[in-house]
Amino acid sequence: MFKITNLNVLIKNKELLNNINLEIKEQEVHAIMGPNGAGKSTLLKAIMSYPGLQKSIGKIEYENQDITNKLPNEIANLGIYYLAQNPMAIEGVTTSELIRTALQEKGKWKDIFTFNKECNKICEILEIPKDFIHREINVSMSGGEKKKQELLIMHFLEPKLIILDEIDSGLDVDAVKIVANFLKEYLKEHEDCSILLVSHQPLLLKYLEPTHVHLLINKTFIKNGDKKLKDEILENGFQKFNGTML
Protein backbone atom coordinates (compact mmCIF):
# COMPACT_ATOMS: atom_id res chain seq x y z
CA MET A 1 0.00 0.00 0.00
CA PHE A 2 2.70 2.51 1.01
CA LYS A 3 6.37 2.01 0.36
CA ILE A 4 9.55 4.06 0.70
CA THR A 5 12.64 2.67 -1.01
CA ASN A 6 16.21 3.86 -0.41
CA LEU A 7 15.16 7.46 0.19
CA ASN A 8 17.63 10.28 0.78
CA VAL A 9 16.33 13.71 1.70
CA LEU A 10 18.32 16.92 1.49
CA ILE A 11 17.74 20.57 2.19
CA LYS A 12 20.01 23.02 0.35
CA ASN A 13 22.30 20.09 -0.44
CA LYS A 14 22.63 19.15 3.23
CA GLU A 15 21.66 15.55 3.93
CA LEU A 16 18.83 15.12 6.43
CA LEU A 17 17.83 11.51 5.81
CA ASN A 18 19.75 8.61 4.43
CA ASN A 19 18.66 5.28 2.97
CA ILE A 20 15.14 5.23 4.38
CA ASN A 21 13.09 2.10 3.71
CA LEU A 22 9.60 1.61 4.96
CA GLU A 23 6.56 -0.45 4.00
CA ILE A 24 3.08 0.02 5.44
CA LYS A 25 0.13 -2.27 4.78
CA GLU A 26 -3.54 -1.80 5.52
CA GLN A 27 -4.63 -1.73 9.17
CA GLU A 28 -1.03 -1.33 10.37
CA VAL A 29 0.09 1.32 12.86
CA HIS A 30 3.72 2.30 12.37
CA ALA A 31 5.50 4.36 15.01
CA ILE A 32 8.73 6.19 14.31
CA MET A 33 10.75 6.87 17.43
CA GLY A 34 14.08 8.54 17.88
CA PRO A 35 15.96 11.33 19.63
CA ASN A 36 15.30 14.99 18.87
CA GLY A 37 16.81 16.07 15.60
CA ALA A 38 17.05 12.56 14.17
CA GLY A 39 14.89 13.42 11.17
CA LYS A 40 11.49 12.05 12.15
CA SER A 41 9.43 15.14 11.29
CA THR A 42 11.56 15.64 8.19
CA LEU A 43 10.57 12.20 6.94
CA LEU A 44 6.87 12.90 7.40
CA LYS A 45 7.20 16.26 5.65
CA ALA A 46 9.21 14.72 2.84
CA ILE A 47 6.41 12.22 2.20
CA MET A 48 4.09 15.21 1.71
CA SER A 49 6.60 17.07 -0.53
CA TYR A 50 7.14 19.92 1.89
CA PRO A 51 8.70 22.88 0.03
CA GLY A 52 12.47 22.99 0.19
CA LEU A 53 13.00 19.30 0.91
CA GLN A 54 14.73 17.51 -1.95
CA LYS A 55 14.49 13.80 -2.50
CA SER A 56 17.82 13.11 -4.14
CA ILE A 57 17.66 9.33 -4.33
CA GLY A 58 14.90 6.80 -3.80
CA LYS A 59 11.19 6.45 -4.31
CA ILE A 60 7.94 6.80 -2.46
CA GLU A 61 5.00 4.75 -3.70
CA TYR A 62 1.42 4.77 -2.63
CA GLU A 63 -1.15 2.33 -3.96
CA ASN A 64 1.27 1.43 -6.78
CA GLN A 65 1.69 5.07 -7.78
CA ASP A 66 5.01 6.85 -7.63
CA ILE A 67 4.34 9.90 -5.48
CA THR A 68 7.98 10.90 -4.98
CA ASN A 69 7.66 14.12 -6.92
CA LYS A 70 3.95 14.77 -6.65
CA LEU A 71 2.63 18.04 -5.25
CA PRO A 72 1.24 18.17 -1.69
CA ASN A 73 -2.35 18.55 -2.88
CA GLU A 74 -1.95 15.65 -5.30
CA ILE A 75 -0.64 13.46 -2.49
CA ALA A 76 -3.49 14.55 -0.22
CA ASN A 77 -6.08 13.80 -2.87
CA LEU A 78 -4.73 10.28 -3.25
CA GLY A 79 -5.80 9.70 0.36
CA ILE A 80 -2.88 10.71 2.56
CA TYR A 81 -3.58 13.04 5.48
CA TYR A 82 -0.81 14.88 7.29
CA LEU A 83 -1.22 16.33 10.77
CA ALA A 84 1.71 18.55 11.70
CA GLN A 85 3.22 18.89 15.14
CA ASN A 86 2.22 22.56 15.18
CA PRO A 87 -0.78 22.99 12.90
CA MET A 88 -0.82 26.26 11.02
CA ALA A 89 -3.24 29.05 11.88
CA ILE A 90 -5.02 30.61 8.91
CA GLU A 91 -6.71 33.89 9.78
CA GLY A 92 -10.05 34.73 8.26
CA VAL A 93 -10.74 31.18 7.04
CA THR A 94 -13.02 28.99 9.09
CA THR A 95 -12.65 25.25 9.45
CA SER A 96 -16.01 24.72 7.80
CA GLU A 97 -14.93 26.77 4.76
CA LEU A 98 -11.77 24.72 4.44
CA ILE A 99 -13.62 21.42 4.69
CA ARG A 100 -16.30 22.54 2.26
CA THR A 101 -13.71 23.74 -0.26
CA ALA A 102 -11.67 20.55 0.05
CA LEU A 103 -14.74 18.35 -0.37
CA GLN A 104 -15.96 20.37 -3.34
CA GLU A 105 -12.55 19.89 -4.94
CA LYS A 106 -12.91 16.15 -4.52
CA GLY A 107 -16.53 16.20 -5.70
CA LYS A 108 -17.63 14.88 -2.32
CA TRP A 109 -19.59 17.82 -0.93
CA LYS A 110 -23.13 16.82 -0.10
CA ASP A 111 -25.14 19.57 1.57
CA ILE A 112 -24.94 21.87 4.55
CA PHE A 113 -27.46 19.91 6.62
CA THR A 114 -25.63 16.59 6.30
CA PHE A 115 -22.38 18.41 6.98
CA ASN A 116 -23.62 20.15 10.11
CA LYS A 117 -25.16 16.98 11.47
CA GLU A 118 -21.90 15.08 10.94
CA CYS A 119 -19.91 17.95 12.45
CA ASN A 120 -21.97 17.97 15.60
CA LYS A 121 -21.50 14.23 16.00
CA ILE A 122 -17.70 14.40 15.62
CA CYS A 123 -17.38 17.45 17.89
CA GLU A 124 -19.19 15.48 20.57
CA ILE A 125 -16.86 12.51 20.19
CA LEU A 126 -13.77 14.72 20.29
CA GLU A 127 -15.23 16.75 23.16
CA ILE A 128 -14.85 20.10 21.45
CA PRO A 129 -17.49 22.85 21.26
CA LYS A 130 -19.75 22.65 18.22
CA ASP A 131 -18.90 26.21 17.22
CA PHE A 132 -15.28 25.16 16.57
CA ILE A 133 -16.20 24.54 12.98
CA HIS A 134 -16.99 28.24 12.59
CA ARG A 135 -13.78 29.45 14.12
CA GLU A 136 -10.77 30.50 12.12
CA ILE A 137 -8.47 27.57 11.47
CA ASN A 138 -6.29 27.02 14.53
CA VAL A 139 -6.45 30.69 15.54
CA SER A 140 -6.26 31.33 19.30
CA MET A 141 -6.54 27.64 20.10
CA SER A 142 -4.56 25.60 22.57
CA GLY A 143 -2.29 22.86 21.29
CA GLY A 144 -4.83 20.20 22.16
CA GLU A 145 -7.69 22.05 20.52
CA LYS A 146 -5.67 22.41 17.32
CA LYS A 147 -5.00 18.69 17.20
CA LYS A 148 -8.66 17.86 17.72
CA GLN A 149 -9.66 20.38 15.07
CA GLU A 150 -7.25 18.67 12.67
CA LEU A 151 -8.86 15.32 13.41
CA LEU A 152 -12.26 16.86 12.73
CA ILE A 153 -11.00 17.94 9.31
CA MET A 154 -9.46 14.51 8.76
CA HIS A 155 -12.76 12.79 9.40
CA PHE A 156 -14.36 14.57 6.47
CA LEU A 157 -11.46 14.05 4.09
CA GLU A 158 -11.52 10.29 4.75
CA PRO A 159 -7.85 9.48 4.18
CA LYS A 160 -6.46 5.98 3.89
CA LEU A 161 -3.02 6.79 5.25
CA ILE A 162 -2.88 9.07 8.28
CA ILE A 163 0.47 10.66 9.05
CA LEU A 164 0.73 12.14 12.54
CA ASP A 165 3.64 14.18 13.81
CA GLU A 166 3.58 14.08 17.62
CA ILE A 167 -0.18 14.38 17.81
CA ASP A 168 0.07 13.94 21.56
CA SER A 169 2.11 17.09 22.13
CA GLY A 170 -0.07 19.65 23.86
CA LEU A 171 -2.70 17.10 24.83
CA ASP A 172 -3.70 16.50 28.41
CA VAL A 173 -4.09 13.01 29.79
CA ASP A 174 -7.79 12.75 28.96
CA ALA A 175 -7.36 14.25 25.52
CA VAL A 176 -4.70 11.67 24.62
CA LYS A 177 -7.24 8.93 25.31
CA ILE A 178 -9.95 10.67 23.30
CA VAL A 179 -7.63 11.17 20.36
CA ALA A 180 -6.29 7.63 20.48
CA ASN A 181 -9.78 6.17 20.65
CA PHE A 182 -10.89 8.37 17.77
CA LEU A 183 -8.06 7.08 15.63
CA LYS A 184 -8.69 3.48 16.64
CA GLU A 185 -12.35 3.81 15.72
CA TYR A 186 -11.43 5.38 12.41
CA LEU A 187 -9.07 2.51 11.68
CA LYS A 188 -11.81 0.03 12.56
CA GLU A 189 -14.35 1.74 10.30
CA HIS A 190 -11.96 2.04 7.35
CA GLU A 191 -10.50 -1.34 6.51
CA ASP A 192 -8.06 0.03 3.95
CA CYS A 193 -6.59 2.57 6.35
CA SER A 194 -3.25 2.69 8.12
CA ILE A 195 -1.37 5.08 10.41
CA LEU A 196 2.19 6.37 10.47
CA LEU A 197 3.03 8.35 13.56
CA VAL A 198 5.89 9.98 15.37
CA SER A 199 5.67 9.92 19.13
CA HIS A 200 7.81 9.79 22.22
CA GLN A 201 5.03 9.49 24.71
CA PRO A 202 4.20 6.22 26.42
CA LEU A 203 0.59 7.18 27.00
CA LEU A 204 -0.35 7.57 23.35
CA LEU A 205 1.57 4.45 22.40
CA LYS A 206 -0.26 2.59 25.14
CA TYR A 207 -3.71 3.56 23.84
CA LEU A 208 -2.79 3.38 20.17
CA GLU A 209 -0.47 0.46 20.17
CA PRO A 210 1.80 0.27 17.16
CA THR A 211 2.08 -2.89 15.11
CA HIS A 212 5.52 -1.81 13.84
CA VAL A 213 8.17 0.38 15.40
CA HIS A 214 11.08 2.02 13.61
CA LEU A 215 13.99 3.60 15.42
CA LEU A 216 15.41 6.59 13.60
CA ILE A 217 18.82 7.71 14.80
CA ASN A 218 21.22 9.96 12.96
CA LYS A 219 19.22 10.26 9.75
CA THR A 220 18.46 6.61 9.18
CA PHE A 221 16.46 3.67 10.56
CA ILE A 222 18.81 1.63 12.67
CA LYS A 223 16.31 -0.87 13.98
CA ASN A 224 12.84 -2.10 13.12
CA GLY A 225 10.59 -4.14 15.35
CA ASP A 226 7.22 -4.45 16.92
CA LYS A 227 5.74 -3.16 20.18
CA LYS A 228 8.53 -4.88 22.14
CA LEU A 229 10.98 -2.45 20.58
CA LYS A 230 8.79 0.40 21.74
CA ASP A 231 8.83 -0.97 25.31
CA GLU A 232 12.60 -1.38 25.14
CA ILE A 233 13.08 2.20 23.96
CA LEU A 234 10.74 3.64 26.57
CA GLU A 235 12.49 1.72 29.30
CA ASN A 236 16.12 2.15 28.28
CA GLY A 237 16.18 5.29 26.17
CA PHE A 238 17.97 5.74 22.86
CA GLN A 239 21.57 5.59 24.14
CA LYS A 240 21.44 1.82 24.27
CA PHE A 241 20.90 1.70 20.51
CA ASN A 242 23.72 4.00 19.46
CA GLY A 243 26.06 1.89 17.42
CA THR A 244 23.30 -0.54 16.51
CA MET A 245 22.65 -0.99 12.82
CA LEU A 246 20.02 -3.02 10.95
Partner: protein
Protein backbone atom coordinates in the same frame (compact mmCIF):
# COMPACT_ATOMS: atom_id res chain seq x y z
CA UNK B 1 -31.65 58.79 11.69
CA UNK B 2 -28.73 58.10 9.28
CA UNK B 3 -28.50 59.17 5.71
CA UNK B 4 -26.66 57.21 3.04
CA UNK B 5 -24.27 58.89 0.71
CA UNK B 6 -21.89 58.06 -2.10
CA UNK B 7 -18.75 60.17 -2.04
CA UNK B 8 -18.21 61.44 -5.58
CA UNK B 9 -14.90 63.19 -6.01
CA UNK B 10 -15.34 65.00 -9.29
CA UNK B 11 -13.08 68.02 -8.91
CA UNK B 12 -9.48 68.57 -7.98
CA UNK B 13 -10.59 70.09 -4.69
CA UNK B 14 -13.75 68.77 -3.07
CA UNK B 15 -15.26 69.89 0.22
CA UNK B 16 -17.94 67.81 1.92
CA UNK B 17 -19.77 68.67 5.13
CA UNK B 18 -21.28 65.81 7.09
CA UNK B 19 -24.08 67.46 9.03
CA UNK B 20 -25.95 64.42 10.24
CA UNK B 21 -25.20 60.75 10.93
CA UNK B 22 -24.11 59.34 7.59
CA UNK B 23 -23.27 55.98 6.13
CA UNK B 24 -21.00 56.14 3.12
CA UNK B 25 -22.12 53.47 0.70
CA UNK B 26 -19.68 54.08 -2.13
CA UNK B 27 -16.80 56.10 -3.48
CA UNK B 28 -16.13 57.55 -6.87
CA UNK B 29 -12.52 58.52 -7.59
CA UNK B 30 -11.39 60.66 -10.50
CA UNK B 31 -8.51 59.84 -12.82
CA UNK B 32 -6.70 63.09 -11.98
CA UNK B 33 -4.97 64.21 -8.76
CA UNK B 34 -7.42 65.34 -6.10
CA UNK B 35 -7.87 66.54 -2.54
CA UNK B 36 -11.11 65.74 -0.75
CA UNK B 37 -11.84 67.37 2.61
CA UNK B 38 -14.60 65.81 4.69
CA UNK B 39 -15.78 67.81 7.70
CA UNK B 40 -17.69 65.92 10.35
CA UNK B 41 -19.95 68.23 12.36
CA UNK B 42 -20.12 68.06 16.15
CA UNK B 43 -22.08 65.14 17.61
CA UNK B 44 -22.26 63.42 14.24
CA UNK B 45 -21.26 59.88 13.28
CA UNK B 46 -19.69 58.98 9.97
CA UNK B 47 -19.64 55.32 9.11
CA UNK B 48 -18.12 53.74 6.07
CA UNK B 49 -17.54 50.13 5.13
CA UNK B 50 -16.55 49.93 1.49
CA UNK B 51 -14.81 47.73 -0.99
CA UNK B 52 -12.98 49.99 -3.44
CA UNK B 53 -11.74 48.39 -6.62
CA UNK B 54 -9.85 51.05 -8.51
CA UNK B 55 -6.86 51.82 -10.62
CA UNK B 56 -4.46 54.76 -10.79
CA UNK B 57 -5.81 56.74 -7.84
CA UNK B 58 -3.77 59.80 -7.01
CA UNK B 59 -5.12 61.89 -4.17
CA UNK B 60 -5.70 62.78 -0.55
CA UNK B 61 -8.71 62.35 1.66
CA UNK B 62 -8.66 64.56 4.76
CA UNK B 63 -11.28 63.90 7.40
CA UNK B 64 -11.76 66.55 10.09
CA UNK B 65 -13.43 65.49 13.32
CA UNK B 66 -15.23 67.98 15.56
CA UNK B 67 -16.51 67.83 19.14
CA UNK B 68 -17.99 64.49 20.12
CA UNK B 69 -18.02 63.12 16.59
CA UNK B 70 -17.40 59.54 15.60
CA UNK B 71 -15.58 58.16 12.59
CA UNK B 72 -15.66 54.49 11.68
CA UNK B 73 -13.86 53.97 8.40
CA UNK B 74 -13.32 50.45 7.04
CA UNK B 75 -11.92 50.26 3.55
CA UNK B 76 -10.79 47.37 1.45
CA UNK B 77 -8.66 48.67 -1.39
CA UNK B 78 -8.24 46.29 -4.32
CA UNK B 79 -5.83 48.25 -6.43
CA UNK B 80 -4.68 47.99 -10.01
CA UNK B 81 -2.03 50.12 -11.67
CA UNK B 82 0.05 52.71 -9.83
CA UNK B 83 -1.74 54.41 -6.97
CA UNK B 84 -0.86 57.09 -4.47
CA UNK B 85 -3.44 57.61 -1.80
CA UNK B 86 -3.28 59.49 1.49
CA UNK B 87 -6.00 59.16 4.11
CA UNK B 88 -5.72 61.57 7.02
CA UNK B 89 -7.85 62.15 10.09
CA UNK B 90 -7.43 65.43 11.95
CA UNK B 91 -8.96 65.54 15.40
CA UNK B 92 -9.31 69.19 16.26
CA UNK B 93 -11.67 69.17 19.21
CA UNK B 94 -12.72 66.94 22.09
CA UNK B 95 -14.30 63.58 22.78
CA UNK B 96 -13.95 62.04 19.37
CA UNK B 97 -13.69 58.39 18.53
CA UNK B 98 -11.93 57.43 15.31
CA UNK B 99 -11.53 53.85 14.12
CA UNK B 100 -9.81 53.41 10.81
CA UNK B 101 -9.26 49.97 9.29
CA UNK B 102 -7.73 49.71 5.88
CA UNK B 103 -6.88 46.56 3.96
CA UNK B 104 -4.86 46.79 0.80
CA UNK B 105 -4.40 44.29 -1.99
CA UNK B 106 -2.39 45.10 -5.09
CA UNK B 107 -3.91 42.95 -7.78
CA UNK B 108 -1.24 43.35 -10.45
CA UNK B 109 2.49 43.91 -10.63
CA UNK B 110 2.38 47.71 -10.30
CA UNK B 111 3.34 49.99 -7.42
CA UNK B 112 1.15 51.71 -4.85
CA UNK B 113 1.81 54.00 -1.92
CA UNK B 114 -0.69 54.30 0.88
CA UNK B 115 -0.11 56.99 3.46
CA UNK B 116 -2.25 57.17 6.57
CA UNK B 117 -2.09 60.13 8.91
CA UNK B 118 -3.64 60.66 12.30
CA UNK B 119 -3.30 64.01 14.03
CA UNK B 120 -4.67 64.81 17.46
CA UNK B 121 -4.32 68.53 18.01
CA UNK B 122 -2.92 70.32 21.03
CA UNK B 123 -5.20 71.23 23.96
CA UNK B 124 -7.81 68.64 22.99
CA UNK B 125 -9.20 66.13 25.45
CA UNK B 126 -10.63 62.61 25.64
CA UNK B 127 -10.02 61.61 22.05
CA UNK B 128 -9.61 58.00 21.03
CA UNK B 129 -7.87 57.18 17.78
CA UNK B 130 -7.15 53.71 16.40
CA UNK B 131 -5.82 52.91 12.98
CA UNK B 132 -4.95 49.52 11.49
CA UNK B 133 -3.57 49.00 8.04
CA UNK B 134 -3.13 45.50 6.66
CA UNK B 135 -1.48 44.74 3.38
CA UNK B 136 -1.48 41.48 1.49
CA UNK B 137 1.14 41.16 -1.23
CA UNK B 138 -0.25 38.84 -3.84
CA UNK B 139 2.39 39.03 -6.54
CA UNK B 140 5.80 40.61 -6.85
CA UNK B 141 4.34 44.08 -6.53
CA UNK B 142 5.63 46.82 -4.30
CA UNK B 143 3.26 48.41 -1.84
CA UNK B 144 4.62 51.20 0.27
CA UNK B 145 2.80 51.95 3.50
CA UNK B 146 3.54 55.14 5.37
CA UNK B 147 1.73 55.45 8.69
CA UNK B 148 2.03 58.67 10.58
CA UNK B 149 0.59 59.44 14.00
CA UNK B 150 1.01 62.86 15.58
CA UNK B 151 -0.39 63.28 19.07
CA UNK B 152 -0.05 66.80 20.41
CA UNK B 153 -2.41 66.36 23.34
CA UNK B 154 -1.64 64.86 26.74
CA UNK B 155 -5.14 63.53 27.09
CA UNK B 156 -5.69 61.15 24.23
CA UNK B 157 -5.58 57.47 23.46
CA UNK B 158 -4.01 56.69 20.15
CA UNK B 159 -2.53 53.71 18.43
CA UNK B 160 -1.79 52.59 14.94
CA UNK B 161 -0.38 49.51 13.29
CA UNK B 162 0.64 48.27 9.89
CA UNK B 163 1.01 44.61 9.05
CA UNK B 164 2.28 43.44 5.72
CA UNK B 165 2.04 39.86 4.70
CA UNK B 166 2.45 37.64 1.76
CA UNK B 167 1.66 34.01 1.13
CA UNK B 168 4.00 31.97 3.27
CA UNK B 169 5.22 28.51 2.29
CA UNK B 170 3.80 27.11 5.51
CA UNK B 171 0.32 28.54 4.91
CA UNK B 172 0.22 27.30 1.36
CA UNK B 173 1.61 23.89 2.32
CA UNK B 174 -0.99 23.53 5.06
CA UNK B 175 -3.86 24.16 2.66
CA UNK B 176 -2.29 22.09 -0.11
CA UNK B 177 -1.86 19.17 2.29
CA UNK B 178 -5.63 19.27 2.71
CA UNK B 179 -6.08 18.76 -1.03
CA UNK B 180 -6.33 22.33 -2.34
CA UNK B 181 -4.16 23.27 -5.31
CA UNK B 182 -1.90 26.31 -4.96
CA UNK B 183 -4.26 28.69 -6.77
CA UNK B 184 -7.21 27.71 -4.65
CA UNK B 185 -5.09 27.94 -1.51
CA UNK B 186 -4.12 31.52 -2.42
CA UNK B 187 -7.73 32.35 -3.21
CA UNK B 188 -8.88 31.11 0.16
CA UNK B 189 -6.15 33.09 1.94
CA UNK B 190 -7.16 36.26 0.08
CA UNK B 191 -10.80 35.68 0.99
CA UNK B 192 -9.76 35.14 4.58
CA UNK B 193 -7.78 38.35 4.52
CA UNK B 194 -10.75 40.29 3.19
CA UNK B 195 -13.16 38.74 5.66
CA UNK B 196 -10.98 39.03 8.71
Amino acid sequence: MSKEEIIKIEKENTELNILQDTIITGWYFPKFPFVCNINISPNVKLFCKSLIEENNINGTINIYSSNNSELNLSLILKLYGNNELEIANYIEENQNVSQINIKVLQMDSKKSTIKTVGVIKKNTKDNDFTEKVKVLNIKEEKIKCMPELIVLSNEATANHSVTMKTFTDEELFYLESKGLNKLLAKKIIVEGFLNN
